[in-house]
């Protein structure tokens, strides 16, 4: 009891002066007006907030195997193939996946003595991030077997794009003719691309 009384007395002395000097909050001088809600019309557009597609140019490398089909005068065999290409990635509209045009031009090496220049353009379904698909035909001109060669390659490209870069796989049919030779090949290649331009960031 004595201890309780001592504590109570102490608290009284400590708390009462403190309470007397506690600052009082100054009241607000004006009532807060009602807040209006400005509503958006339903069915609003969704365009500028959507991501921009990549629209630019860069470099693409492919490296793989050309399987000769044995059509015409060549027996079936496999050759190494390498491409170094300047590419465009021209996406149009807005969205995570858009229609695009993919122009490509560059140098192609096959086997041991094919040196071909090629250029072409094709449609694509282009993603800023994720899988892109393109179908790009290229006309070829160069040297094969030491003689003038002409041809056509049609490339189906599956590219996992991540803004500026991309990695993927290419399957292509290639027809090359020189002299009396007519060669059909299927190329299986790994590819990588780097692109600079608008749309690397959203």
């Amino acid at each position: 009891m004595r201890i309780g009384a001592l504590v109570a007395t102490t608290l009284l002395f400590v708390c009462v002066p403190a309470a007397a000097t506690e600052p009082q909050a100054i009241p607000g001088a004006a009532p807060v007006p009602p807040v209006k809600v400005i509503a958006e019309s339903p069915g609003g557009p969704y365009y500028y907030r959507d991501v921009r597609p990549v629209f630019g140019g860069g470099v693409r490398l492919t490296s793989g195997l050309d399987v000769r089909l044995g059509i015409g005068d060549e027996s079936t065999k496999v050759a190494y193939g390498l491409d170094v290409l300047a590419v465009g990635r021209l996406g149009f509209g807005r969205g995570a996946k858009v229609l695009a045009v993919w122009p490509e031009a560059g140098y192609s090496f096959v086997g041991s003595d094919w040196h071909l220049l090629g250029a072409g353009v094709g449609p694509a379904l282009q993603a800023r991030e994720g899988l892109s698909f393109g179908l790009v035909p290229r006309v070829l001109y160069g040297v094969a077997g030491g003689r003038e060669a002409k041809g056509l390659r049609t490339c189906a490209i599956i590219d996992f794009s991540f803004g500026q870069g991309g990695l993927g796989f290419e399957v292509a049919h290639q027809y090359v003719a020189w002299g009396d030779h007519h060669i059909h090949e299927i190329r299986f290649a790994l590819e990588s691309a780097v692109v600079w331009g608008q749309g690397e960031k959203p």
Partner: protein, 304 residues
């Protein structure tokens, strides 16, 4: 032969999906599509001036300013020394806005003009009351685990990858409220008498298309020197999140490139410091006034 009603949708789809034509600023503003409008400016296509004016008109900030009388200050903080009286004006500012269809709002209040004024903070109040501010603390953080991991990486890669070792980091920790209360009771008393400063966002509507408003409170200490004028500078920022049809909504803090920001400033002259109390009473009295209304009353062009 082709009927226009058949051709136009085809042209529209071609335009939007392939060429990339967006809606005009007028179309966006007519439907209060402020998120789209803000992003159209970021994309360099929208009319920034027109959009900024329209969104600010919808936001319609309501303002109240009052000068707290010396007697009220002294009554609220009776421990404050009498010398405080008459040295500064305590100018309270409160802003309330409508809720508009944006994803986030930012609002900042500051003073402008040719008189010394600054936000009411404990440091400034301690100077005013002649009290000593409590010292700040420092805390030191050592990065043992991070350095151990860095060392392990360096060893396992034979030094090929050698992350830098981090030395101890020192942080400055401001004094606690209780320390202010003990060390500078008069300053603390004055500070506590005014309701807290800061802004609060109020939002409603669906989570992916909210409408957002804001209310802000601030108190400024304006020195009673000279015959300069005081004005209020209000910074407003409208934010819209970029979404994608196939991607989840990303937060503002995630990546700033996923946020469209539109900034504007509102300037409200409050009058000469000598007559500030009378001027704010006459202008505001016991009610909030729309900033737009103040502009119109003063004959200022609303061009923000």
């Amino acid at each position: 032969m082709n009927h226009p009603a058949r051709v136009l949708p085809v042209i529209g789809v071609f335009c939007v999906e392939f060429l990339g034509c967006g809606p005009s600023s007028q179309q966006l503003l007519a439907g209060n599509h402020f998120r789209e409008a803000a992003c159209s400016i970021t994309e360099g296509e929208g009319d920034a001036q027109e959009i900024s004016v329209a969104i600010t008109r919808a936001l319609d900030p309501q303002l109240h300013v009052d000068v707290v009388a010396d007697d009220t200050v002294m009554a609220a903080a009776p421990q404050a020394p009498p010398e405080v009286r008459g040295r500064v004006l305590f100018v309270r500012v409160r802003v309330v806005t409508n809720e508009i269809p944006v994803d986030h709002l930012g609002l900042s209040l500051d003073t402008a003009g040719d008189v010394p004024a600054h936000p009411m903070e404990l440091d400034a109040l301690a100077k005013l009351t002649g009290e000593q501010a409590p010292p700040s603390h420092t805390s030191t953080e050592t990065h043992y685990i991070q350095n151990a991991v860095s060392g392990a990486i360096s060893i396992f890669t034979l030094g090929l990858i050698d992350p830098a070792q981090r030395g101890p980091t020192t942080h400055v920790v401001p004094p606690l409220p209780l320390e202010w209360k003990l060390t500078a009771p008069n300053a603390y008393g004055l500070y506590s008498a005014f309701s807290g400063s800061g802004c609060e966002e109020h939002r409603g509507g669906p989570e992916d298309a909210p409408h957002v408003g804001m209310s802000c409170d601030a108190t400024f200490m304006v020195e009673r020197v000279g015959s300069g004028s005081l004005a209020l500078d209000m910074g407003v920022e409208y934010q819209a999140l970029r979404l994608s049809r196939t991607q989840e909504m990303r937060s503002v803090g995630d990546d700033s490139s996923w946020t469209c920001r539109l900034k504007t400033r509102l300037h409200v002259p409050l009058g000469p410091v000598g007559d500030l109390s009378k001027a704010t009473s006459a202008t505001f009295g016991p009610r909030f006034r729309a900033v737009r209304e103040l502009d119109e009353a003063a004959g200022r062009e609303v061009t923000r």
